[in-house]
Structures are given as C-alpha cells and as structure tokens.
Symmetry: C2
Subunit: 491 residues, 2 copies
C-alpha cells in the first residue's frame, strides 16, 4: 500500500483514483458502474451520515423508508419530471428465475413477466407523493417533514468512484407544507444545514446559490445548491434543496383542508446529498501523499506507533500509552495503538499518511526516557516533540487547529481561484489556464448558456444567493445583465 | 386513531395488521408486496440497528457496502446455492426508458437491453465472495469480518407487513477465516450476539439451535438459528447464522497462503437479521390495547400529558415539568411533553397506549398542589401516584422493572406453551389445541420431516443447542431417535 501516488500535477484524475483505491475507500465491482464502499470509506460515510442525521432530527425531521421500486406509470404523472429527468434507469421486467434445462445455470422465467415494469428508484418524489396523498388531509397533518436514507440507481454511462456511480447511497428529504412561504423556508433551512455540514465538518467552503432554469431539478420551481471548488479548478455540486411548489401535489392530487375549511394543494420540497460528498472530501484537501481528513470526519483521529526492538521495550511503551489512550478516548478522541510487529514503523508512517489519519504519534525507548513523544500533524506534516504529560491537553487543541486550518487552506484556494472577467475571451483564457470559479455577466437566456457550455464546457454553477446587484453586459451577446453569475467546469 | 383494535382472540392476524397500521409503524405501498416503514416504526428499527451495529463493532466487525445488483451468472456458481435458493427474484433486463410517441408517458427502450440480466440481491454471498477473491491472498488478510446494512428483494407471493415483504431491510455479515474452527467460532459468536439482543433488548426469549438439512440455508454446511414463540402459538425464526464451510470459497476460487506457505481455501460464515424482527417484537408483547414496547427499544420512553383548562394552568404545569423532563433526559430517558391542545387527555391516553409508550405521566392542577403525578406503566396498566420529587429515581427503576417484567411474561408464556409429546396423535392434538413449541422424537429423515409438514403444517424449528441426549422412538415411524427436536407451526 505504501507505493507512491501519481502526483496531482501529473494526472489529477489518476491521483484521485489511486487515493480511493490505495487508501481502501472503495473498489470496483463486477457490476458495470457500481462500486463497493470498503470499510474505511464506509466508516467516513457513517460519520457524515450520523452528523447529518442528527441535524435533520434537530430541525424536526423524522426518518422513514419507502419502496425501492417505482411503478413505471408513476414517472409520467408529473409532466416536467418525466421530460426533464434522465431516463437512464434500471428496469425490472421479470420476477422469477428458473433452472436451465441442463440444471447448471439459471435463466429468466419468461412466464414471470410483470404486467407493469418497475423502475429502481432514481429519486423518490413520485412514490412518496403517491403515499402522501393518503397521509395528508388536514392542515393538522402539516408540515410533514420526512427524510429517507437509501440507495438509488441512475444508469450513468461514464462512471467514477464516488463521483458518479450507477448505484449510490444518499438521503432524500421530502416535505409537505401548508404555504409557499413555509416550503421556501424549509428549502433554505436545509440549504443552511448542508452549508453548515460542508463548511464546519467537511472543512469545505461552499457557495450557496440557485440554479438556472436549464440546470434545475425536473419538477422544481427552484433549485438551490451548494457548490465547492476542487483542487483541479473544477466545481462540484455538493448538495441540492428543491422548492417544488405545488407541482407534485397537483400531479398526485394531494390536497388539504385549511384552518378556514378550504381545500388547497400542499407545497413541497425535496433535498439531498449523496456519497458523492466522499469525492468532494477527497478532492478538497488531499495531497500527493494521500488523503487529508478533517479531524471531525476521521474514523481514527490519532494513531500511535511504537518503535521497539524487544518485547520488553514494547511492554514499557504499552504501559505508558494505554493511560494516554484512555485519557484521549475519554475526551471522545478515537485512538489506534498499532502494535503490529509484522510491519516497520516506516511502512506504518506511509500507510497512515495515505489514509489521512490526522495525528501520528511515535514513541521509542529514548522518548520513554525523556517522557516525550514525536507528534506529526497530517495537514502540514509539521513535527513536534511533546511531553507525554501535555498530550491530553495538546492533542484536542491540535485537532481543533487542524480542522480550522484545513478549512482556511481550502478557502484561500477558492479565493485565489475565483476570477471576475468582463469579456468572453478573458473567460475562455481563465478557464483554460487556471480554471476555478468565474464570475461573469450573461444575458440570462437558455441559448447563451447553451452556447457557452458547448464552446467551453463551462456551465452556470449557480446564481449566488448573496450576489451584489451590478449592472453589466453579457460577455457573449452584449445584452444587459443585472448581476454576475458563477461559471465553472464541473464534475 | 383511538378506535378499538380487533381482539387477539377474535382474529390474531387482523389484530396484528391493525396494530401495525394504527400505531403508525408501517403502511402498504403502491408496489405489490413492498411496504412503507413509517416514522414511528422506523424509529424503533433505528434503535434495533444502532444496538446491533454497536455489538457487531465490539466483536471486531466493520461495515461496508456492496452493489444492489448481482450478475445472473453469479447465482449459478455455487451449485447448492442456486438449486436451493428461492428463484423468486426481481430481474433487471433494461437500463433505459424513453418518451412514448405521444410524449405523455414513458416506455421501456427496447434498444437498451442488458447483455446479461442483473438480479436485485436476495442476499449477497455471491457478489461478496466474488470480491473477496481480490481482497484475500494471505493469512494476514484473515479473518475478514464485514457486515452490511442493506435492502434486499425476494419476490414473495404472500406478503405480510414486516413479516414477509418483497423488499426488506436487513444486515448481512460475511466473514472469511483461515480455519474451520475459527469460522465455527464466528458462527456461534454471532448467534450469541443475536440471542443477547433478542433477550436483553427485545425482551424476547429465544431457543438457539441448528436447522435440519431441509431447512438449511442453500450453500451452508450448517445453519444456526434463534426461534421465538409468538402469542398465537406460532414460531418465528428471528435470526440465522450460517457456517458456510469452504463452499463459497471453492465456487469463487478464494484461496490464501497459510503461515506455512500452503495454498488453501478459506472458510466462510454469513449471518443476518431483518425488519422481520419488528414483527416478532410486535407479536411477542402487544395486547388488545395496542403495542407494548420493551423500554430499551421505545423511541419515546415517557410521555407526560398535562391536564389543564386554562393557559395559566398549562404554564404552571410546564414550569414544573420542564425541570423533570431535563432531569430524566440527563439520565438518557427520552421524554415527550405533549401540550397539544387540539386533543383531549383521554384521546392522548388511548393513543399512547396504542403506540406502546412504556410510561405515561398525567399531571393536573390538583397534582400540582399535592406535588404529585399519576404514573401508568404500559405493560401491566398499573397506576400509581408518585411525589414529583421522586420521579428521577423512580422512573429509571420503573423502566428497568418493565424491561424485566416484559421478558419474564414472554418467558412464562413460552414455558407454558412448550410441550413434550410421545405420540403423533398427541402431537397433532397439541398443535391444533394450544400450538406452541413441541418437543418430540423423530427419526431425522427428510421423508418423515416432509410427511409431518404435509400432514400438520408443522416443521422442525431447530435442534436445540443445549439438547439433552435422550433415547426415544420417532413418533411417526417408530425408528430410534437420540434426541427430541423442536417442532412448531411457523411464520
């Protein structure tokens, strides 16, 4: 595992894949486009899930579970949903296998054909709104605030580990409200929850904004998103929160009696983040030596490597360390004491660097004499010698400092790679030289957006929420514009 | 919701369905045989999952995630797996939809036919062992102890909420070991974890045992199980742990180099429990007034219902209660203070009884004067008046006592409904009168087992692990038998 990674400068994409594979985050599977999330990668995802789940519950949501399958006809009920939504779906047509004639294999039983095909959910608005019809009848049933952790399938043609896979894990919130204002408030609340999570846990700065019409979720009145910048200058959409208006309520006939006794359609939102966040996390912070994890998402925060020649040395070290380990664990810090004697300390150092363990402590017989240890932080690789007696105070401080530092570094990178441009020429030049986020005026039409995309592969990532109003001219058509929007090439 | 349930005596099956629906545990869906797990039901399942997950991790397992889909050919690789395993599976044959000619609906795109069909996993041995082939090469890679929380699909013809659904949630552990002894030890360790969980958290006594050959998991050398007795005298298999020997290793060619340098096939186990446990939980303890939950699995353990006529009364009660609520929550007890003024106290009492909230506290203006509250425990419906000052001591004690009492009651029921019989006549008579577990001699042959099943619908639930050896004669054929086995009609 300690073989060197391809440097980012040489081949960013190769570097990314090597980190994912070599650090034991994920693996390819025998099924085209489907990945295996390996234990170490899954442990990080579990941390993400648990933190988000807590935040969802704190904001009043409950979890539930809806079926994996959606009757084909449901997808046709919301007109813009069916037109706009990708039709790359896994379709179940049969429900039985049978032994082949030679009894050596199985074949699909042609007798067991479904009357109506079932679609493996690409997202669950339709099956959920079909259910909400029977759950909602009065204003007393509202708001209905439900989230689901689930797997979904979209038959992507070009897949990449974590970033774009046919099957992925995600959460999808689906809420129902009495008024448009309530629904909009929910949409923005969840955007804030995602922003808080991205910035304060993933240490990844994001820009909040709305999508243009052409990038909007099929069936939404408005799509809000958070956009992050990766180290190669490409953007990654990291979460979306959709204001669905009354579209799904009308498609599935979900009405409620108001306090005043009127019958009205309810308002809806949906919002989600997925295992794609794992890709964002990896690409935001990692370096040519491997993964860099913000301490709050690291399954192991501190690894202690003993340096010993004899069993006796190890015994002495272990005695000292077991006390420190317990003290740190009592402060909710996860610690691994690696006593494996089949690997050298050097091998372990490289391995834990690759895996992004935030703090590495090494301790040998001489350290024991001096009552000190060597501490190395993963983000800056800075080494220091610390008295053992200070560890229980210094390590928590160090972890906090790293969390902040990793965020600041990413923020600085984003600021250095956000450029205002005035002309289309400049736009193209920046895109091809440094990339990053580009703030530019455009006339707000689908046609211009499409042309820019075709000519440069850049898209409008979002119209930032905190946008200054600034009169200008479209860099392509010269038509008037009232604000800059944020462009980038994106994952 | 406070409408009366059908009594168990009148129609047990109807009673069960009504509890599931009326207590808000689950709902039917638009997809045949697939259920919706509603928020309250899901909250109970989350508690189960979190407790089990902790136990899996404490016994050295890590979570991972493998693909939902299995290439059809994989199912044919392990001969007894394909022959024995149910072939009722959801089969994906296409990967794209397209707009219909009238653009009003979607149809399956005939051009997008998969070369090899994909099966929605009914269980994951095949896809996982195909992966382990590349993860295992040396004794250093062993044991490999992995668990997965996932949804699986088995196309059941007759479904029942929680007990038998086409899609269900479960966990499946899949481990690899260097020796047969290690694998057997793992199989038994996980059986013990399940037993501990069933008895000490679900308050449901279980019998540990092994399955007969005909009830064994397809591909296993031995299947261990835990069997519980429901209130209608039917058995429910509540968890299985399979010793898979080298069968899957051979089918997928998974070998490892031993310490001595030899190349050998690894040994495997797999083990699982599912949302079926929800059905077991409901049927073990609930009564004609609704759900009875063991406190350790109750999402809300204490509900406090204020009885008030004026806003002022409520304010006074709230002040008192908020202190108690905090104190109880500090002791990790979950408390709901229900101040909803659109429902009467009587309605709330019935509702919380239906939902199985372990402890109900009622407090009115007079209680306030006396500094007391009325406490009702859900299991025995016993009422008591307690001084407010004692609640933080008495409530935790009460919850502990209820946990124990619910278990004892179920154990007593099982003991009273376990019968030793000597003749086939007696066997049939007991089955049709009281049901329950029946301990009887049989000759151990498939033929006799099959005959008993056909004639009585009873099956060998298991050969109990702690079985006394006792010479006897098969109740059907008169052939010699060395031990009694446990029969029952089962879910």
């Amino acid at each position: 595992m300690s073989s060197k990674l391809t440097p980012r400068q040489t081949d960013y994409s190769k570097w990314y894949n090597e980190i994912v594979i070599n650090a034991g985050l994920a693996d390819y599977s025998a099924v085209r486009g489907c990945m295996i999330i390996k234990p170490y990668g899954y442990a990080i995802w579990e941390k993400m899930r648990d933190i988000l789940d807590k935040k969802f519950k704190e904001t009043g949501h409950q979890n539930a579970y809806f079926p994996l399958f959606i009757p084909k006809s449901f997808l046709s009920k919301e007109a813009s949903h069916v037109e706009g939504f990708a039709k790359e779906c896994a379709v179940v047509t049969h429900y039985r296998l049978k032994l082949s004639d030679d009894k050596k294999s199985v074949v699909v039983d042609p007798e067991a054909k479904l009357e109506e095909e079932l679609i493996v959910r690409p997202t669950s608005e339709t099956i959920i709104w079909n259910t909400y019809k029977s759950w909602i009848s009065s204003y007393r049933d509202l708001p209905l605030l439900i989230n689901q952790w689930a797997n979904v399938v979209r038959w992507e043609m070009r897949t990449r580990l974590f970033l774009r896979t046919c099957e992925f894990l995600w959460q999808e919130g689906h809420t129902a409200h009495a008024t448009k204002e309530d629904a909009l408030k929910e949409t923005l609340t969840m955007l804030d929850v995602y922003t808080d999570f991205a910035e304060n846990y993933m240490a990844m700065p994001v820009i909040k904004g709305t999508k243009t019409e052409s990038e909007r979720f099929a069936g939404a009145d408005d799509t809000y998103c958070i956009e992050a910048l990766m180290q190669d200058g490409k953007a990654l959409q990291s979460g979306t929160s959709h204001m669905l208006g009354q579209n799904f309520a009308k498609a599935f006939d979900v009405k409620f009696t108001t306090k005043e006794g009127n019958l009205e359609y309810v308002y809806a939102t949906s919002w989600g983040v997925s295992t794609r966040l794992m890709g964002a996390l990896i690409m935001s912070h990692s370096d040519d030596n491997g993964l860099v994890l913000p301490p709050l998402l690291a399954p192991i925060q501190v690894v202690i490597v003993p340096i010993f020649k004899s069993e006796e040395d190890l015994k002495k070290i272990s005695e000292k360390i077991s006390i420190i380990k317990t003290e740190l664990e009592n402060k909710n810090i996860s610690v691994k004491f690696d006593t494996d004697d089949t690997k050298t300390p050097g091998w372990k150092f490289a391995e834990y660097e690759l895996k992004g363990i935030p703090v590495r402590i090494a301790i040998g017989p001489r350290d024991l004499q001096n009552n000190t240890v060597e501490v190395v932080r993963r983000d800056t690789k800075e080494k220091s010698i610390l008295p053992i007696s200070e560890l229980t105070v210094k390590i928590p401080e160090l972890l906090k400092d790293m969390q902040k530092n990793i965020y600041q570094k990413a923020l600085k990178f984003r600021e250095e790679n956000t450029t205002k441009v005035e002309t289309y020429e400049e736009f193209k030049k920046i895109l091809d030289s440094k990339g990053g986020f580009i703030l530019a005026h455009y006339d707000g039409t689908k046609e211009t957006e499409e042309r820019i995309k075709e000519e440069t592969k850049a898209t409008v990532r979002c119209i930032p929420l905190n946008n200054e109003k600034e009169e200008g001219k479209c860099m392509v058509t010269g038509k008037p514009s009232r604000q800059r929007v944020m462009f980038a090439r994106a994952y």
